[in-house]
Symmetry: D3
Subunit: 263 residues, 6 copies
């Protein structure tokens, strides 16, 4: 455990994640759903499956994965005006939901998915920094739960999940890299970086921003090292929750293979 001069809330080390919990099947209606908590950040992620695709994929045999992101007005310390009442989604919202969509879409084999759309809704019910990362990490679990239901229900021939994906933020505060910033840390950090990576530690997306000044390649390298540690723990957490489902998926896949050979 690394110490930090100014200290973090709860005595957290600079390379330590906040407490993470992922509660599956949080919503009784959705094909897949979780409540993910990273410290005081809480996001409901649901995966809804619809038997249609956007126009550009019609009759292609391929499916689509997309995401929408929202925040309850009082998820934040100061109340934010409701986007539905303002009549449009803000730039931040659109940017985040495009990121979540790209991150999750990258893990899926569109042909194995077939002509279906999976919509991942990520709704922040309490925000304390890192909501986009929590949305990706939790949204992945909701997505796999939904696909598992379809696959086990025999409505899908091949298992479409190719890899695991999770996301974490890192930043530089007081000149030192910190993992998984909470809101108060994030708003005073010099650099803020969001890293989306697979379980094989390959990057899907990487976005670093100097909030004040600029940052060097060395600083980036040290942030990435810290992020790796966080991603490893997050994918382990996801695996833990998904393992019963994935075991069933494996069984079914094996049986389907056998019955195929018998014929």
């Amino acid at each position: 455990m690394t110490s930090t001069p100014k200290g973090r809330a709860g005595g957290r080390a600079t390379d330590e994640l906040r407490a993470v919990t992922i509660r599956p099947d949080f919503n009784k209606h959705a094909e897949g759903s979780v409540l993910i908590e990273m410290g005081d950040t809480r996001v409901i992620c649901t995966a809804s499956i619809e038997d249609k695709v956007p126009p550009f994929l019609m009759r292609s045999g391929k499916g689509w994965v997309t995401a929408e992101y929202g925040m309850l007005p009082r998820a934040t310390n100061e109340r934010n005006a409701r986007e539905a009442a303002k009549g449009k989604q803000g730039g931040r919202t659109l940017e985040i939901q495009r990121l979540i969509g790209r991150a999750l879409r990258g893990t899926i084999d569109q042909e194995a998915l077939g002509e279906r759309t999976v919509i991942i809704d990520c709704d922040v019910i309490q925000a304390d920094g890192g909501t986009r990362c929590a949305s990706i990490t939790g949204g992945y679990v909701a997505l796999v739960l939904a696909l598992g239901k379809i696959y086990l229900g025999k409505k899908m021939v091949n298992w479409p999940v190719r890899s695991q994906v999770a996301a974490v933020s890192v930043g530089i505060r007081h000149g030192m890299p910190h993992l998984d910033l909470d809101y108060s840390e994030d708003s005073t950090a010099e650099v803020d970086m969001n890293i989306v990576a697979t379980d094989a530690m390959q990057f899907i997306e990487l976005q670093g921003t100097a909030e004040k000044g600029s940052f060097s390649e060395d600083e980036m390298t040290s942030m990435i090292a810290l992020a790796r540690g966080g991603i490893e723990q997050l994918v382990a957490k996801q695996r833990e929750i998904l393992s019963p489902l994935l075991a069933q998926v494996d069984d079914v896949a094996r049986e389907r293979l056998k019955s195929k050979f018998k014929k």
Copy 2:
């Protein structure tokens, strides 16, 4: 306990409420907040206090209470398009939030509130019928919790809450009145009525709609009788949660009165 020919989910009697739980302080940011559950219906209610009023109340010395209502896209069995993405709130949403606003505003003394606005956000995270009633019942608790914080923090001279308010639905199914309809009951009911009432069983708002055909004055009378029973239990539930706060409010009020007489 009254029996019902066709039966209700969980063997519920026609005059029986679903399990109700109200979890206070659900949100760490809001001045007042609850998670209310009525069966599988779950609504997050937050009360936010802002030190400004709408233009028509400026320099009047009076405050305002208003409400906003929303539903997560997958709160429902079929996913509903996100209103923020559609670019406007639908008629149903506007109608419900106007109702919640009127119901809660009626319980507050606007002059004692002073030039402040309380915004009650009611966000349905899972829907199974009765969301507008749950929003009123839960929103009232959030409102009082927020006002308590202000009053005890000595930012308010007089306690502005004049009465208690709760709401419940009743309907006629198979020709027989039923209390607190869940979604599957509501969607097949002949008549649907929402009743908003005070702890003294006076009506604040009453809305009855014949979904099929029409209804008689006698049927209305029998629905109202059923609703009374439900309202009584709901106001008791609210009182239970609010009693520690109200005891503190009473103490402070008494002290303030004393110190006033001493001078």
Copy 3:
């Protein structure tokens, strides 16, 4: 005739409607139309028939009845901003047009209507209270006039009108129930109730709101009694205007029946 302590405009009794006139065929283009006046409230109601239905009714053999409501900017004492210029219909507008739609839809046999949509446009050209009730009472006449034209034109096999419907407001002012409130009465009433009922005095919709304080079941009963008297006069007025058409409809229905038996 009942007297009232403070008096009403024109010496009207508390149980007396304002002067009502319904002028049929006010618009040369619409399939059905009226200008309805209740005192100084004037609403143009037109019924337009289109040979298509909303998506959820396609290929169901059933038709749809819907309503839209609007107000000219200077229908009111103070000019109201034009909704088309503001870029959206307000909550009050949406609430009212949903009410009108439900009320009128309830009188029609959707299967006899066939795959058609009837749009009832209710446009208030001068407002003095009770515009939503006048819209329902007048809209019903426009609807029947339009259906008559279709039926007599032999484009419809069975007459689709099942019942008559009218609406009236009642309220409590100075503690006493009053029928058919004008704007100045409405804006000072303690309770305001809109009642939509059939010619058999069955309720279609009933909405009561305590504008100040609350109201008891007894008060509600006395308001309903007053409303009954108003509804009776309004349905009589409607019948008077529609009787020539309805006589023709009866003749045609009888002939069609005869020719059916002959075959």
Copy 4:
């Protein structure tokens, strides 16, 4: 009277206006109002006066005149979607209301008006061609009626009306100029021209459009000659309705002048 080979509805001559009626004080709320009818075209024009001006005129001592135009959905033969429901005013609407505003603004002395805005609402309740011209001709009367009320009420020092303005359409059909086209004529005309002119036959605005092909300078000259005749009749009609008011205005102006000299 000129004859026309193909004939016009009602045997109208090519240089003949449709029946024109202007009914003043049609609306009880507005400062000035008329119902203008030109044949089957009917427009309600109201003038509303507000004691504020747009930002660019603040503290300039000058007033503003502006117009808004709308059409009830079933003013036309086929129902038009309601602009408030579509969420925006169409290009045709904006173009027409800008024209009306310019035409009426040109007749007013902005300094004599003082820091006030007059909004002229022109709402077409039945359309049969020439709605923008009827709006200008009727809107002028509503405007003067409203200004008269202010002037006589002693809230305005100098009478701000500088000239009279009216508008009429002319067009070429079957190669021959026609005055005041109705809808069926307009939709088959080769050229369509709207002329806005003062009582001194000076042009305020002139808009000619070749709907098919093009038109020569000679054709334009002959259309203008026809329009002159129409404008003369329309300004006479306006004068007839406004003369009692203008007589009063004259009296007051004379008295004010006298009392000024006495001092």
Copy 5:
């Protein structure tokens, strides 16, 4: 050359156009495009061809020509808010693009065009008066260039261009007619007129507006005379740029005719 008392920028005569340049093929993507400059006014006009038509022309065998107009925010002296950010196109924009569309549509034989839509985008990158006229004059060239590409590419049987069209503004300043007003002239002119005419000096559209006061028929006649001179130069300029293409079109037309006769 006529002299002017107050002088024009660059010593321009009252009957003199500003320097006009039309640079074809300005954009590498569009089927047809130009950059037109009239003095300091610069407009990019592109013509895009799509193989579909608006609903009202489907299966009619006819094509459509439409236009859109925009201005970069800093095309003007003071920055104008971006219409995309405001969420709607203003009335002026809609009015201008409707005018451009009518003007260009009038030159095309819709049947020869076939079921295609040509969209002319006119984007003002620097404004100094006369942008709508420059858009028409330049848009015509872009349109013909695009149609030439289609025709020569053998995707169109008959050449659809029936006439040439150009536009110019004239105005009255200090009581004297002036051709082709720049922004500073336009904003101080008493009368402003836009004239759209064919190469045969027939009018397509003519819009005159008295910005202050009014104007007489004589003044109009003198403005039209001045406009004729401007139009003549503009159509000559267009012809110069289009002549190589038109020569090719003629050759192909002749060959097609020949090969038709041979069969």
Copy 6:
């Protein structure tokens, strides 16, 4: 010069920028402006200075820099619907303009700027990949030109520019890093990265996205190396254009310093 197996348009090496030209003072109205071309990508950047700041900076003594981004409809190979006509800016547009704003804001000392807002409008008139990077590189020059005008005009005490900033894209195609992707390269790249850096090669923003699959830390390092080379050439290009202005700024700064010491 490095060779590439599949070749790039124009025989460009993988570490070679496209031809870059920056034409200053492209627009006569804006305080600062350029036309930047990177190959066939052309962007007009204007800097507009307004003497006001957003609400959150009022009375702070600090200024603001913000950006807006747009594309002409036919900037692209297929015509894109005009955002002003669609009624909203898309997610991609908002994301890009937020990025440009952050990048340019980071180079400015907000206190030296004083209570002013600089709006950088970046309008793509022809797109061929790299439009956001060209906007940043060109927008920086427009910004400095505008600030120079203010500073030399003695309306600003201290020169507010702290560093230079430019942006370039890099990507991985066929497994090999490429600098400055054009559209056809970008749409087939496996990884796409945009790098915003200062003249001291410090990062302001870094966004890498795996369009297909994922990427390793080594791949990222090699892309960054390539980007450095591009940034160096771009900042040199900027310096070349700005050097006459910066020399003047230096002279004035020296004189101001002298006159300060004399006092």
